[in-house]
């Protein structure tokens, strides 16, 4: 199970890549493995305001429907349109081609309440 060292994580199994005032967000390798084959991803439109810890989208596998939660607050500035026709990218490349949204965040301390790779690995171990 992959947990890249250059990312931060939420307890709801989202990952965050921070760069300047932008955050790229997706779901983790652990999450995609738990969900199974992903067949549908529902993401917000550009310009949507997101509130940290609120659900902003849905990822569906054959058997389940799961909410995706915003790890930071801000405005959606980019959405991965490839996931419309290729939702399976979330399974095959959750940290790369399976990225979901890019958020321009509003709070000055976006790392607040996010986990570092070791803390996230610990959480996954406890959940297995």
């Amino acid at each position: 199970m992959e947990i890249p060292n250059d990312l931060l994580y939420s307890i709801e199994h989202e990952w965050v890549r921070l760069k300047d005032n932008r955050a790229t967000v997706g779901i983790t390798d652990f999450a995609q493995g738990q969900l199974g084959d992903i067949v549908f991803v529902e993401l917000p439109d550009e310009g949507t305001e997101l509130t940290k810890e609120n659900a902003f989208g849905v990822v569906e596998s054959v058997k389940t429907v799961s909410d995706i939660y915003a790890p930071v607050s801000g405005t959606v500035v980019a959405v991965n349109k490839d996931l419309e026709s290729q939702p399976e990218l979330v399974n095959s490349d959750p940290y790369g081609k399976g990225w979901m949204v890019e958020i321009e965040f509003s709070n000055s301390n976006p790392e607040q309440n996010l986990l570092d790779p070791d803390q996230y690995a610990e959480q996954c171990k406890n959940q297995e």
């Binding site: 549908f40 054959v62 429907v65």
Partner: protein, 372 residues
């Protein structure tokens, strides 16, 4: 069958093999069963294109034997038992007095006075109690043989090629909805040409002590054909593409099976059977709704209980839905008012807070390949 004590779930004799093969195990009908191995989509396509092997040992088996066996089953079940011959199988309903369904099942005739039923795992105990209750005035013996019977399903276009070298009789002699006793890999089995997938295939009934051996032999024999172990996730998507009913979704003890299009297994002319009066009355009143196939026209996945609308009006509810790996679109089944049940009728499926356009389609939504 043994107890997984920590979770209070039953496990089949193949539990260790499931874990060995990397199964994702989940609770189902009181059992811990594999929902998937390699992935639901890959397993589904494997069954459609090659061959897959399912552990369905959680299903229930009930044996009926005795002088009144035929008369009893004729009274208990909706289909015509009189039409059966030795080695034949019938799909049938077992109804309650109100015309609702206690279970849908397969009845197998060994001899005129000896049968066995294969029933849904979720209804196993309930069905046996129901049978015992109704057996009181008949000269028969009933036995719940579920605990001493394991079951495998081998399904797919290559199923016959995989099974034949291990089987001691020619499978060309075994036609659809018939069964025969024989040996698979030297192990005594009942082999039936049945399945829940819409592909050619076989179901094997055998002793729990031997099922691991037969499972491994079939996997070995199937290797050149690309055989995969298949979980319950794909079992559901496969039957959904076929439009096969699932007890608890399309049929239950309240829903009218005539609405579900199951009139073909309800033989009013055969004489008295449990539920006949209620069902006949409903038939004579005319059906007001119908179970239809639904195909979404844009992205989205229909799921059980999602509302179905016509011009903003609520006209039905999805009973089962999924993403079809073959068609790459959301498909499902739902009950709608009769006037909206014609093929091509445009409907909307409410998914969360938006409406996805859909249309009524024929079932099965992909071709069936059973060897009728």
């Amino acid at each position: 069958m043994s107890q997984n004590i920590s979770k209070n779930l039953k496990i089949t004799p193949l539990h260790d093999i499931h874990k060995e093969l990397g199964a994702r195990l989940v609770p189902f009908a009181g059992w811990e069963m594999p929902i998937q191995f390699n992935g639901v989509m890959a397993e589904h396509i494997c069954v459609r294109e090659k061959v897959g092997l399912f552990d369905v040992s959680h299903m229930g088996e009930i044996e009926i034997e005795g002088k009144d066996a035929k008369r009893f089953l004729q009274f208990l079940l909706s289909n015509d038992i009189d039409k059966m011959s030795n080695g034949s199988i019938l799909y049938t309903l077992m109804c309650n007095e109100n015309g609702g369904v206690v279970d849908d099942l397969l009845v197998h005739r060994f001899l005129k006075n000896h049968y066995f039923l294969c029933v849904n795992a979720s209804n196993s105990d309930k069905d046996y109690e129901w049978i015992v209750k109704h057996a009181a005035s008949f000269d028969i013996s009933t036995k719940n043989t579920s605990a001493e019977t394991s079951q495998l399903a081998l399904q797919g276009p290559e199923a016959k090629n995989v099974l034949q070298p291990l089987c001691d009789f020619s499978l060309n002699e075994l036609s659809y909805y018939n069964f025969k006793k024989g040996k698979v890999d030297g192990v005594e089995c009942i082999i039936s040409r049945t399945g829940y997938t819409g592909e050619d295939g076989f179901e094997l009934y055998l002793r729990p002590k031997k099922v691991s051996q037969v499972f491994r032999s079939l996997m070995r024999q199937g290797e050149p054909y690309g055989i995969q172990p298949i979980g319950l996730g794909a079992r559901d998507t496969l039957r959904l593409e076929m439009g096969y009913a699932l007890y608890g979704n399309e049929i239950d003890n309240q829903l009218n099976p005539l609405d579900a299009g199951l009139g073909w297994v309800i033989k009013f002319d055969k004489g008295e059977f449990v539920g006949r009066e209620s069902l006949l009355k409903q038939k004579e009143q005319g059906l007001r709704r119908k179970l239809v196939g639904i195909k979404l026209l844009t992205r989205g996945i229909p799921r059980s209980h999602y509302r179905v609308l016509k011009d903003g009006e609520h006209v039905g509810e999805i009973t089962s839905g999924t993403f079809s790996p073959v068609l790459n679109i959301g498909v499902g089944m739902c009950y709608v008012s009769i006037e909206y049940s014609h093929l091509g009728t445009r409907l909307d499926v409410e998914i969360r807070n938006y409406f996805v356009p859909a249309e009524v389609v024929e079932l099965p939504v992909v071709p069936s390949h059973v060897k009728k």
